[in-house]
Subunit: 430 residues, 2 copies
């Protein structure tokens, strides 16, 4: 039986009772953490001892909203107004997408995420079997859903609903439990109320949580009021969505009373701060949501609107932006920002019993940061250095479920060169 | 005679007439660029051929405001209100600083800057001989000034003025021309009007440009009005400062009519976007300043308030923030953001005849980015990838004045391990 131990690390556990362990160790066996504490004197019981010599060890980061397939569109269109970007650039290309695009786009995204310390991600798109297979092979962890846009015929909607339901049936708890699923109406502006209600009842039948885009732009909120007489939060509440566990992406344009509704139903939020800035959608009220006890987590959205999947950048942005916007340097301190990307991320996708912190009994999703670099000196405060000075590029080794997936900065489960070749071959057709 | 040529690069020249060259080459000799164009067939005249195989080649980035010595305080205090941060944390420690602190702090900062593609930086601090010696040895380029805080006795002020003047006399155009200098009253709130006037006349005598902190916080502007009856821009104009070439750092709280004054005198601005967010100072009106034709460049400020010196992060932040704040996704597109960090940086410190773009006759300050990575795929748009997806950590090789200073991501002119040892030894006393 393989019993591994990482020793001599600066362990940032994200367990509030035991946040930081200097000269610390983490042991794991069968993919599960069996010991967290000081480096033990006796190491003879371990089959492998990994001496990280002072490097930081953190729980794998959790990216709670994205569309991995879309990485083929990175840099294809930037600096455009949202509607022009969507209607003239994104949608025409996405309409030509095949399973092959989904496969290679997802592999490209998984390489990026693993190499920058993300070990769990949420994905909402189509061709989800391809996404799930890529997750399975790469060794990453994911909560996946077939996003349903409700345009078109009743038959088309029904077939999407069946496809989404089958995806949940086929893939939940597959890949040694690394894959979990959701049901996902794309948004209130792309799904009619009755289609959302159908999806919600199906989610109840399947005992599945829900994921949806909500209140990303001001225009979308205004449209919702015009069409349905309510802002999106109240609209979705009325449709019964929030009685089922729900993760909403964006929640940029939510008023105080709407946050009260989100808090009341324990609706989880994925904040996509960089994508929201880049698309000029606005700035979500993250400090206010946190004050109301809402679980706020971080998502990159796709690399078409970010344009990378490095959660370290979201971390730093969330720690910086609100200070400047609200003239308060104490807002979202470094430790809180890191919580958003780890333990709150786990809570947002109902996996906090498994991941999000380094604790005995949780899964061994671990990231080692190379801190023997100028950026991490002097050694005043590891959490500050990680958030304000670090970069996803400093990730050295990554383990998911105890299995090494990144070694010395290189992804060992996917052939990066081949993926680069394939995504360029496919994107030449755009 | 050494004649080098970089071949097969994606050359991002920042020369508007010839912005992007695929399969391009840059040749240099005696530290100067002698050829920019397609990769030539005949390479026999070159003593060294460097094949970068598609990697991007960009002009070295220019960091127009900082305090390199302060890197010893990285992560020493974060998430605090500005006055508490300054008065309880920064100033007490800085008061204990010796030449040794300046030496090792500066070396740490230079490693960070070189490794993330910055080849020219501005520094305002004391113990500037130490800073200049570190610049000389490391091979980086810098415009340096002894920042003068006017508190204390008349004798103390006079001795600072003499020290600053001697620094200009001793170090201008030293280190094979890599060092240039300025005269620098610290700020309108730390220097009395007559001290500023004295410094300005000395700058005229020395034919030296000027550098000053200005309008960083709202409180500072209000204090200026209370003490001197004017906001800082008008105050400095009245003191005759802007008749001499001047670079102001921050310019966060400037009104429309104040920007007109800055434009009228061609006052250069160093925008410190991340430091301004982190210290909750506010958000400078960069799009408005650009509209008025003001030269806006980027600075990191010190790593005590940033907390790193990676100009790629400033680049991306300036391209993102204004879109979100002003609800306009077309504001500060990728190319403009890159101009701020390159050619506008050079203009801001009056070195645009030498650096800031890859052009024949300019200095060979060149940065090679490793783009054979997922983050730069598919190969749609190099400038977008560099700004929105890239990281300073992707810098592979750096040349200043044609001399290699970073090789495969490692600084070859400074011993990073020794510097890490020394900064930790020194900072243990804090």
């Amino acid at each position: 039986m393989s019993k591994k131990i990482i020793i001599n690390g600066t362990i940032i556990t994200m367990d509030v009772n035991n946040l930081l362990i200097k000269d610390g160790a983490v042991a794991f066996e069968n993919g599960e953490i069996t010991y967290v504490g000081e480096t033990p004197n006796d190491l003879t019981t371990y089959t492998e001892v990994i001496d990280v010599k002072g490097d930081y060890v953190i729980p794998g980061l959790i990216n709670t909203h994205g569309h991995a397939s879309m990485s083929l569109l990175r840099g294809y269109a930037d600096d455009l107004p949202l509607q022009q970007w969507l209607e003239e650039k994104m949608w025409p290309i996405e309409a030509t997408y095949t399973k092959e695009h989904a496969k290679w786009g997802t592999n490209l995204s998984i390489i990026e995420m693993l190499r920058t310390g993300t070990t769990t991600f949420v994905d909402m798109y189509d061709n989800m079997d391809e996404v799930a297979m890529a997750v399975d092979k790469s060794g990453i962890r994911a909560r996946l859903c077939r996003g349903m846009i409700g345009f078109g015929s009743e038959e088309l909607r029904q077939s999407k609903l069946d496809e989404a339901s089958n995806f949940v049936r086929n893939w939940s708890n597959q890949a040694n439990g690394r894959i979990t699923t959701m049901m996902s109406p794309h948004s209130p502006y792309t799904c009619t109320p009755d289609f959302i209600e159908k999806i919600v009842s199906r989610a109840v039948e399947l005992n599945s949580p829900l994921h949806i885009h909500m209140s990303e732009t001001k225009a979308e909120v205004e449209l919702n009021v015009k069409e349905y007489g309510e802002r999106p939060v109240k609209h979705l509440e009325k449709l019964g969505m929030f009685h089922q566990p729900t993760l909403v992406a964006h929640a940029v344009h939510v008023e105080d009373w709407e946050m009260d509704i989100l808090a009341e139903y324990d609706v989880k939020v994925s904040n996509n701060i960089i994508s929201n800035l880049k698309l000029a959608s606005g700035i979500a009220p993250v400090p206010e949501m946190l004050n109301k006890g809402i679980t706020v987590s971080l998502g990159t959205d796709s690399s078409a609107s970010n344009n990378n999947l490095d959660l370290f950048e979201e971390l730093k942005q969330v720690a910086l932006l609100y200070k400047g916007v609200h003239n308060d340097a104490t807002l979202i301190p470094a430790e809180k920002a890191l919580q958003l990307a780890t333990i709150h991320g786990a809570e947002a996708i109902w996996l906090d019993h498994q991941v999000g912190s380094i604790e005995v009994g949780k899964q061994a999703d671990l990231v080692v940061i190379n801190t023997k670099q100028a950026f991490y000196q002097p050694a005043h405060n590891p959490i500050s250095h990680l958030v304000y000075s670090g970069s996803g590029r400093d990730v050295k080794d990554v383990y998911v479920q105890g299995k090494q997936v990144v070694k010395n900065g290189q992804c060992v489960t996917i052939d990066e060169e081949m993926v680069i070749f394939e995504v360029n071959r496919l994107s030449k057709q755009f």
